[in-house]
């Protein structure tokens, strides 16, 4: 399994040294790979701190000197940043709340409540995951348009309360790991199904709720097509849409664009830094255990 066995056998090196060479070679490759993934982000921040002259300097400098921190202030003053943040937060927090609410309740219905037709309908849930969003995009737009919701955040938030197949699947996988005895004994004690759900199951699935909340928060914060379709008034723009509009207006202002992109990304980094366990769990949990 180690690369050691691949080294040509003719090279006479003592095993201990050979081991050392191999592990430092591996460490080198690993460092290189990590650098390739991390460096673009470093470049984003570095560019955001450069002055105009330095931006167009060739070859480009790896460290800005002096670092122009006022680029950030300039970027913030050129876009209604806080209004964008407020809209993005509204979209992200409300839709994430909706995803948790609908995901947990529906997943409970698909895992612990026994009812005829359950398996068939759950199969339908799985099927809908394969449906490209483009198929429903136009009629959905027309529905929201006909009830006057275009130009508001409602078409972005309300659907989250109506369940997302992926999150339902994820939650169901999680709830299924809870022993049936738990809910069965509560039922014998005369507990209502709703009470079992809220008092017993919900507290036990907090990790899954965190995974869903964070994922939907991230999805909403990153979403571009949704705001592009439904928002037309700049006061409603989310950061995604605002940044895109800023780019079409200031295409060559790279320092400002990178400053905006940096500020746009930082909240997600902070969130990720404190909760990365849940992100990684979410990826591995849904991908494998089926």
């Amino acid at each position: 399994m180690t690369v050691a066995e691949q080294l040509p056998q003719t090279v006479q090196v003592p095993p201990a040294r050979r081991q050392k060479i191999v592990s430092s070679a591996l460490a080198f490759v690993v460092t290189l790979a990590v650098t390739l993934f991390a460096f673009p982000l470093y470049w984003m921040v570095v560019t955001a701190l450069k002055g105009d002259a330095e931006i167009f300097q060739s070859p480009p400098g790896m460290v800005p000197h002096p670092a122009i921190w006022s680029n950030f202030e300039r970027a913030l003053s050129q876009i209604p940043f806080w209004s964008y943040v407020r809209n993005s937060l509204l979209y992200a927090v409300l839709s994430a709340t909706g995803a948790c609410f609908s995901g947990a309740m529906v997943a409970y219905g698909f895992s612990k409540v026994r009812w005829p037709g359950r398996e068939v309908l759950f199969f339908v849930v799985l099927i809908t995951m394969l449906l490209p969003y483009q198929v429903t995009m136009i009629p959905t737009y027309l529905i929201f348009r006909s009830i006057g919701w275009t130009g508001t955040l409602l078409p972005l938030i309300v659907p989250a309360f109506l369940g997302n197949a992926y999150f339902i699947f994820l939650m169901r996988q999680f709830i299924r790991t809870l022993p049936d005895e738990l809910s069965d004994s509560a039922r014998i004690d005369g507990c209502s199904e709703w009470r079992i759900f809220t008092a017993i199951v919900l507290p036990l699935i907090k990790p899954a709720l965190a995974v869903v909340f964070l994922n939907q928060f991230l999805n909403a914060w990153k979403d571009f097509l949704g705001p592009l379709l439904y928002l037309n008034d700049p006061s409603q723009y989310t950061l995604s849409l605002g940044l895109q509009q800023f780019q079409s207006a200031n295409g060559q202002e790279w320092a400002l664009l990178m400053a905006c992109a940096t500020i746009f990304t930082i909240p997600l980094f902070v969130l990720f830094f404190f909760t990365q366990r849940y992100f990684v769990e979410g990826v591995t949990f849904t991908g494998i255990k089926s």
Partner: protein, 311 residues
Amino acid sequence: MSMTVGPSAPLSVQARKRKKFWNSLGLGLLFVSPWLIGFLTLTLYPFFSSLYYSFTSYNILSPARWIGLENYQKLMSDTKFMASIGNTLYYTVIAVPLGVVLAVSLALLYNQKLPGNRLFRTLMYVPLIVPPVATALLWQWIFNPQVGLLNALLARIGVVGPTWLGDPHWSKISLIIIAQWGVGGSVLLLLAALQDVPRPLYEAAEIDGANLWHKFVHVTLPMISPVVLFISITGIINSFQVFTEAFIVSGGEGGPVNSTLFYSLYLFQQGFRYFHMGYASAMAWLLFLAVLIVTLIVFRTSARWVIYDRS
């Protein structure tokens, strides 16, 4: 509850069974009602009305007019539509296999017991945290032909870099490179799968005289094949729908010379720039059929290379 039998009258076994059936059905439906409402209004109804619109001429302002197969016929002679299919296939055929190979390689690398594993996982995942709009802007800057990072590095080794996103021959390659930056999600999935491979299998293979390559092909690869299948299918479906990055780097145009006019981008233009809702719906349905066919093919052939039995 029952209309015919009073609460005091004894229920027949059958009636009791029937009552239990309806009660449990009602309870189940109540719990899944958020999804059910969403499914009926935001999936099923749009699904069929999209099919209906695809046979109409509809510009939102005046009512939809039935025109039969005209949209589909027009699509067949629409050169931009054909270009968008070509672009999307080109992108899929290169980006998906490249992504799988890259992800498997990186996962194998990190499956070695190395220090800094946690840091690696974090850094792998980080590009997925960056919003696509920011990602597209960042790479547009890196790909800048005159003062971008990439061509500056290429110049160091004496290579004159292409104009990347400005060159129709390189623009799709550029977007494929951007997509590879987000390979970390697949790597994490594969790492989890690799850690599940039973050690005795490797020991048995070693006793049989297997070398590193044999062990990879005959033990590792079969064991992680379900995850490879999952990555491949989601990869194909996602690249059929690539949109945001192409929209940002081309200002919504799909240029230069339609080279980044991907299927979803052209569909969006038809639907929401020209308000050809019927035409765009026809495109959406063809996309749906394509996704369906590809998924079926991958599943059918996967029986030959995916191993689910772990005994």
